[in-house]
């Protein structure tokens, strides 16, 4: 057991949650963060899909890492990711059709998500399967946290609801309150991500450039 949760593994898991977050620090995977966060539900499903895909593709590539010829490694990685993405996509179509329609091409586009290729290249190709799995989980969750925060605020302020349920009472609207249409547009996701980065860097002074 001691090997499972060694200090290094812990770092591998916790790093991406904060100081090495894929979205706020490495600024990867921004496109999907803009596209799927207009409502909380697709953001959640997208997060879950990315966590699963990045964790398992990390494991598979890590297992294969010594047998993959260096010159064609990107193709091999893509095949593995594509296979996993197809599986997730089919499962979503079977069991959560409406969300899958909302997410449209973005599940398929996980194949090209920068976080995945980054983790496979930078970590799974050089580490053992267990560490790679933990690294995938960490990065997936780090991505998910940001998506969920952005999705939360966009749906709350843009549509007055969460997970499709109205949370802002009708009396507010009667008093003159209105949903902010800008929240529903992709630019606002960028501004929200920027706000998260702002808060994050204000709290972690070592992330600030001199």
């Amino acid at each position: 057991m001691s090997k499972l949760f060694s200090e290094k593994t812990k770092q591998v898991f916790l790093g991406p949650l904060s100081k090495n977050n894929p979205i706020t620090v490495q600024v990867l995977g921004i496109c999907s963060a803009l596209a799927v966060t207009a409502n909380l539900k697709p953001a959640l499903v997208m997060s879950l899909s990315v966590i699963i895909i990045v964790a398992f593709s990390n494991v598979i590539i890590s297992l294969l890492r010594n047998t993959i010829p260096n010159r064609i490694r990107i193709i091999v990685q893509l095949v593995v990711v594509a296979a996993l993405v197809t599986i997730v996509s089919e499962i979503l179509k079977a069991f959560a059709y409406d969300v899958s329609v909302q997410l449209s091409v973005y599940i398929g586009l996980i194949i090209t998500n920068c976080i995945l290729m980054g983790r496979l290249e930078a970590f799974a190709m050089a580490n053992k399967p267990w560490e790679s799995f933990v690294d995938g989980l960490g990065n997936g969750i780090g991505y998910a946290v940001i998506l969920i925060i952005v999705g939360f605020f966009r749906e709350l302020l843009g549509a007055g609801s969460l997970m499709g349920y109205k949370v802002i009472p009708q009396s507010f609207y009667d008093a003159g309150y209105m949903n902010n249409g800008l929240m529903m547009m992709p630019p606002m996701a960028l501004i929200l991500v920027a706000c998260i980065i702002w808060v994050h860097r204000a709290k972690n002074k070592d992330l600030q450039e001199k």
């Binding site: 003159g176 209105m178 902010n180 249409g181 800008l182």
Partner: protein, 400 residues
Amino acid sequence: MDALKKIVDKVKPHFEKGGKLEKFHSVFDGFETFLFVPNTTSKQGTHIHDAVDSKRTMIVVVLALVPALLFGMYNVGYQHYLAINQDVNFFETFIFGFLAVLPLILVSYGVGLGIEFVVAQIKGHEIQEGFLVSGFLIPLIVPVDTPLWMVAVATAFAVIFAKEVFGGTGMNIFNVALVTRAFLFFAYPTFMSGDAVWVRTGTTFGLGNGSIIDSFSGATPLGQIAVSPTTQVQLGGITGNSIGFIDGFIGLIPGSVGETSVIAILLGAVLLLVTRIASWKTMLSVFVGGAAMAWIFNTIGPDTAAAHFPWYNHLVFGGFAFGAVFMATDPVTSARTEKGKWIYGALIGIMTIVIRVLNPGYPEGMMLAILLMNIFAPLIDFYVVDANINRRLKRATIKK
């Protein structure tokens, strides 16, 4: 003036280092330099000094905006009493508009300056004066019926995200007042377009009670063009009377508070040009670019109402004149090289007409055109300077 100076000097020690109100130093400093030109000088480098610092510049712009504001107030009252078909005297009309517009000004200044003061305190800066003009512009470029909380939210958004994050006054890429309007436009589209917001039909502080006439139509001229099914539009005022170029020039038509009257805007333009605060090159080239583009659409454009709208009318309706005089010439966000100003201005005029004519979703293109060109201003400057360097380099090369 002397008495005022004495008071300022008397309370000054409290705000100096070691005084009991030391932490409000930046607030005091803001007021002091607002009232009197500071007597401090820069410590390094060579500077040319004159009495016109940026606070004095801002005040001249504010003065230039006063005619548009006063006319806007009168027009708000005028449109209102026209809509409820009551005949009131000049004074009552103006008071109605004054009371309708005043809250917008107070909210815009209150929120914007509040944020400026807080930021100045946190950063330990002196208070920056840029918001003096932005806060005055905001009420002039929104419809009179914009809810106050929306103005507050939009102002806060613009001051924080379009100005403070870039480093405060003088560092912003986008015109702050236009970002406020753009935020309102995209966040609350029902309150920034259509035909229900341009004329105040309700009462203001209990004034102007009455029922709206049957033939009332609150659409702005450009709004009417955008929804017109035919290619030749007869523009109408709010009571259905037909209006034309002269009405657009005088400005007793529905629209954002300060944008309707070209006469009032030109009065401001004269002041800005005489004091040389705004560049005549930018102003002129916006009008020339807009007129030329509109003329091209008139001649060979698509078969729509907007394309057939005569080019001279494009210049007097909507926010064209206001944007050209007060927004495009913003010294911070516009091009700074002399050649660059021509290019910058002309492209604003061209883009405005292109947006108006080719995108029916945006009947008014001025705001988007200026914001778009704000992005390109540094690029234009870069190439103008670069071309100049190359030209001179060529001259300097020794021929073999």
